[in-house]
Symmetry: C2
Subunit: 277 residues, 2 copies
């Protein structure tokens, strides 16, 4: 049921696309790559069977859009996908992506994807075949009976789930709205806070700040190295949920000390879900 | 210059106190422990030379207050320290601790301390001799010419710095106000945000949230497992700086998208200080 067919074309070979290409090549797929950057080094490493111009898109059986969210949306609107192709993406927001995919031509099967493994670095120089091992990978089926819904949607979902599994990831089926609600809290808001804390440290010029850090604070502040180029798109396309999350979280965080005990209790109870097993 | 003399009494043998005791014993110190919990298992492991009642406090040459901040403040006010003792602490706030230490009897040398290694777990069961290896350890000299200022303050600071080094940590001399300003941003505010995000996830009952997490979000949300017992004291005794940090950071985080590019730029520049080397 539902194995993705080759050749598999990865559009966008940064750290995510190149890592996935490396893993899929290792799993035996014929992987093609397209990027504005020169991809011959990836062919040399055996991560890609070939680097192709975008004109060869119709020859691909499976297409992975490994671009920033803005690039994914533009590709869905502009590229000439053909009936029979399976298309997926790796974008950090899903409602906007699924809406754009709903306008794909009849017969193109689309499944939204979002890998939760990753790297703070960017570019294929930071890629590795096991980047997604042990992580989760959200997979979102197209809904409704419009053209975006595949003839056999379960089959398309299973095929993309299998692609994730071939990289050592665990596919997590979810709907686009639930995905975007959750990541507003667990990813987009932490990114905004880490950026704001680091910007405040920079503005205050506290020379001791990088020394007075424990492992938790250091992990949190590492987020501040993220690129605005990626985050502008994410924040723009999940604005409502991020604003709702911001209001709810700051209201809890600014409660008086007497009321914070209950917040810590709720939070500690929730955090037990993070423990393995 | 300034080696801490034995016996070294660790008051409070939770994860921090027991880990330090284990490391100091391994380094050749005679370490005594005091705790409301039974400490014979720590003697059995060779982490303590003996467990003592608090009445034996006067026999200690060096005293380490490894308690929550409220316990440290109470100990500084109530315990009968004697002239000639070197006293230090491990509290996460320093202005309040240094103020309490200023009322110690003449001849007691006090140096504030704050180890940045640590564990999300609590209790000596989670302790290990290398808990602080590779981390930093803030050391704060008593100021002014009051009784809290040691006869030879440089010597006391060096002795506590050496205790940190014996555990593999790097002592970072700083003043109490700078310490509290910095940790409000790098530790206390991230804790409040993580608690508030996890509490909001619990309240919304988002079943997918623990699955849709990357390494950064997971590290951030692990903070939500912290105990309010510890944090109530910390937040109560650094309230002004935490409120100032909260106002500054939320103002940056809620800027419109067009203005966020500058924040990301400042933050990314600052985050380069986190890179090793």
């Amino acid at each position: 049921l539902g194995a993705a067919r080759d050749p598999l074309l990865v559009i966008g070979c940064g750290v995510v696309g190149a890592s996935a290409a490396a893993g899929w090549s290792a799993a035996g797929h014929e992987v093609w790559g397209h990027d504005r950057r020169e991809l011959l080094p990836l062919v040399g490493r055996g991560w890609l069977a070939r680097a192709v111009p975008i004109e060869r898109l119709p020859e691909a059986a499976t297409v992975v859009l490994a671009l920033p969210v803005g690039g994914i949306l533009a590709a869905l609107r502009r590229l000439p996908f053909r009936a029979g192709q399976l298309v997926t993406d790796v974008g950090s927001v899903k409602v906007a992506v699924m809406a754009a995919a709903a306008a794909l031509p009849q017969g193109v099967a689309f499944v939204g994807g979002h890998p939760f493994g990753g790297s703070a670095e960017s570019g294929w120089e930071a890629a590795r075949a096991d980047l997604f091992a042990g992580s989760t990978w959200a997979v979102v089926a197209a809904e409704g009976d419009g053209p975006a819904a595949a003839a056999r949607p379960g089959e398309a979902l299973a095929a993309v789930g299998e692609l994730a599994e071939e990289l050592g990831a665990r596919p997590v089926p979810c709907d686009a709205a639930a995905h975007d609600r959750v990541v507003a809290l667990t990813s987009h808001l932490p990114q905004l806070f880490a950026t704001a804390v680091a910007a405040e440290l920079a503005a205050r010029d506290e020379p001791l700040a990088a020394s007075l850090l424990g492992p938790g604070g250091r992990a949190f502040l590492r987020l501040a190295g993220s690129s605005f180029e990626l985050w502008r798109d994410i924040l723009a396309h999940n604005r409502d949920e991020v604003e709702r999350a911001f209001a709810a979280v700051t209201a809890r965080a600014e409660k008086p000390l007497e009321a914070l005990g209950e917040e810590f209790e709720l939070a500690r109870e929730w955090s037990r879900r993070l423990r393995p097993g």
